[in-house]
């Protein structure tokens, strides 16, 4: 299967270009620091000379630590997802490597699919490492969490992260400029998300997955399957669209 051949190359590229390392280090760093900062921020602030000023901080809780972790993973997931995907197809088209390889028996679907799979694997591994780091420190500083629920939370964050990857991959297919691809993708991600929050349909958007996971960690088992379905749609539809467009494109 040519997708495995292309995946092998993509994976090697993520390692050699240090992208895998960068993503893993960034996510692990924020995985580690989330419980740490939650725990020690009140103490650090209390130690500061405040001269007449009183800073009221609620006592640190495990929920605050989880909330901080989810926020960090979601933010950096989007940023890294866009940054690392924006050049994936556009750059290869612009440089000519796509033309060089796609005259060979390598299908465009495999070429594109391998890129998505490699990026998804990179985020999965990085999130596993970040999740382990955060779990360990939370256990040390607070208490042990429910492992199964922690796993579900991280799986939901993973799916949330795949949305910017899929959308940016579509944008990267549409243009030959990686800057343009990144810009369009950010626009597509930020604008509907912001409007959704204002108009109240945010509970149907991918961001709801993070809320769902956080709720679950607090013991609330209310599900958000509509948001999950929409998230899957926002991963699959851009990928299918990108594939259809890329198949028709002249290189």
């Amino acid at each position: 299967m040519s997708i495995f051949v292309a995946f092998h190359k993509e994976w090697l590229e993520l390692i050699r270009s240090y992208r895998l390392l960068v993503v893993a280090v960034v996510l692990v760093f924020f995985g580690l620091t989330s419980p740490f900062l939650t725990k020690f921020t009140p103490e650090l602030l209390a130690a500061l000379p405040t001269e007449g000023m009183t800073i009221e901080m609620p006592p640190p809780t495990i929920e605050m630590s989880i909330g901080q972790y989810v926020k960090n993973m979601a933010q950096f997931g989007v940023i890294l997802g866009v940054l690392l995907t924006m050049g994936s197809i556009s750059q290869e088209k612009d440089k000519g490597t796509a033309a060089m390889m796609l005259v060979k028996p390598l299908s465009r679907g495999a070429f594109m699919g391998a890129k998505f799979l490699a990026l998804a694997t990179m985020f999965a591994i990085s999130l596993v490492l970040a999740g382990i780091a955060c779990y360990y420190y939370t256990m040390l500083l607070f208490e042990a969490m429910d492992i199964l629920r922690w796993l579900v939370l991280n799986t939901l964050i993973f799916f949330y992260t795949l949305v910017p990857v899929a959308l940016t991959l579509l944008c990267s297919t549409l243009t030959k400029s990686q800057a343009a691809a990144g810009g369009i993708a950010l626009g597509l991600l930020v604008i509907p998300g912001s409007i959704g929050s204002i108009l109240g349909y945010g509970k149907y958007l991918p961001g709801e997955l993070n809320t769902w996971g956080t709720r679950l960690m607090q013991g609330d088992t209310t599900t958000s399957w509509i948001a999950f379905g929409i998230t899957i749609g926002l991963i699959v539809i851009p990928l299918l669209t990108a594939w259809l467009i890329f198949n028709r494109q002249e290189l």
């Binding site: 040519s2 051949v5 292309a6 092998h8 190359k9 590229e13 050699r16 270009s17 440089k95 000519g96 490597t97 033309a99 060089m100 390889m101 796609l102 005259v103 060979k104 028996p105 390598l106 299908s107 002249e250 290189l251």
Partner: protein
């Protein structure tokens, strides 16, 4: 057998017609020089034949397989060198050849052997472990040729393979192509006439998206040969050159005689009579010839003649 064929191929980009009913055929086993000025439609033709672009109308075949409906099958039988080959800079040439081998589904042992063989052929065995990012243009071009040969293609498409190289790099690449004679069909586009004259046995001339002519190189040169002779004389007999030329002008088999320094260019009406009479005439006039030769037409003459004619008609 016909290796490459196009019929009434048209490609339109907005208002610009890149290919305007191109019909050509290339015999198996030949090194075909696809010659034309910049913007004539050479690259567009190759892009359509390799499946990178779609024709607006018309058809194209590689070994009787329609390029639009048999893309995957054709991809297994062709090799392609783009005008500006691009690589993954982080790979070594061995890794790149191995990757191409994987794409063609070659088993590991065959991939390794083929990579070694091609690295030697491309003269890159010493640089096999260096990153491609640090390669010179000539090295990249040779690697690009090597990658196009991984699958032992039946047809090799080369788009301007030597145009951007310095004289040494050009020689290396042309020598490389020369070595392929008899191994596969080479379809080589270029605007450099000397390259075609050196390695190609068949030539197709394209201008404004249309095929101007297609023939074997020798037939083309013979067909458009200028019936002329160059006679260079010794300095000592320079004074006799002008009177001799004036006498020669009156011969029925002579068309014109022009003199430049010690060289007289004699354009004739009848080559066979000229071959018999010219030397005798030189001797009779007391000239001491230091050079006497039938002018060999260059492909440049043919090209300029044909393209000039085409421009005149447009």
């Amino acid at each position: 057998m016909i290796a490459v064929r196009t019929e009434q191929l048209r490609k339109v980009f907005g208002q610009f017609t890149a290919l305007d009913g191109l019909t050509l055929s290339v015999e198996e086993g030949t090194i075909f020089g696809f010659l034309g000025p910049n913007g004539a439609g050479k690259t567009t033709t190759i892009r359509i034949l390799t499946g990178l672009a779609h024709a607006t109308s018309g058809k194209a075949w590689v070994f009787d397989k329609d390029v639009t409906t048999n893309r995957n099958e054709i991809a297994r039988t062709i090799g392609f060198l783009p005008e500006e080959p691009a690589f993954y800079a982080w790979m070594t040439p061995r890794e790149f050849l191995d990757y191409v081998g994987r794409v063609f589904g070659l088993p590991a042992t065959e991939r390794s052997a083929r990579a070694n063989e091609l690295l030697v052929l491309a003269g890159l065995e010493e640089s096999a472990k260096r990153r491609i990012g640090g390669f010179s243009r000539g090295m990249r071009q040779r690697l690009a040729l090597a990658q196009a040969l991984v699958n032992r293609p039946k047809v090799l498409f080369l788009d301007e393979p030597a145009s951007a190289l310095d004289p040494e790099g050009r020689k290396e690449v042309l020598d490389f192509i020369e070595q392929l004679r008899g191994q596969c069909t080479v379809f080589m586009s270029t605007h450099i006439l000397a390259d075609v004259e050196r390695v190609c046995d068949t030539v197709g001339i394209i201008n404004r998206g249309r095929l101007v002519t297609e023939a074997s190189r020798d037939a083309l040169l013979a067909q458009y040969a200028i019936p002329a002779f160059d006679v260079e004389v010794d300095q000592k007999t320079k004074a006799e050159l002008i009177p001799w030329s004036e006498t020669l002008q009156h011969e029925t088999w002579v068309k014109t005689v022009s003199i430049e320094g010690l060289v007289a260019k004699v354009i004739v009406n009848d080559v066979e009579t000229a071959k018999r009479e010219l030397l005798a005439s030189i001797t009779r006039a007391g000239l001491i010839p230091t050079r006497y030769e039938v002018v060999r037409p260059s492909l440049e003459d043919v090209f300029l003649h044909l393209v000039g004619q085409e421009e005149g008609q447009a």
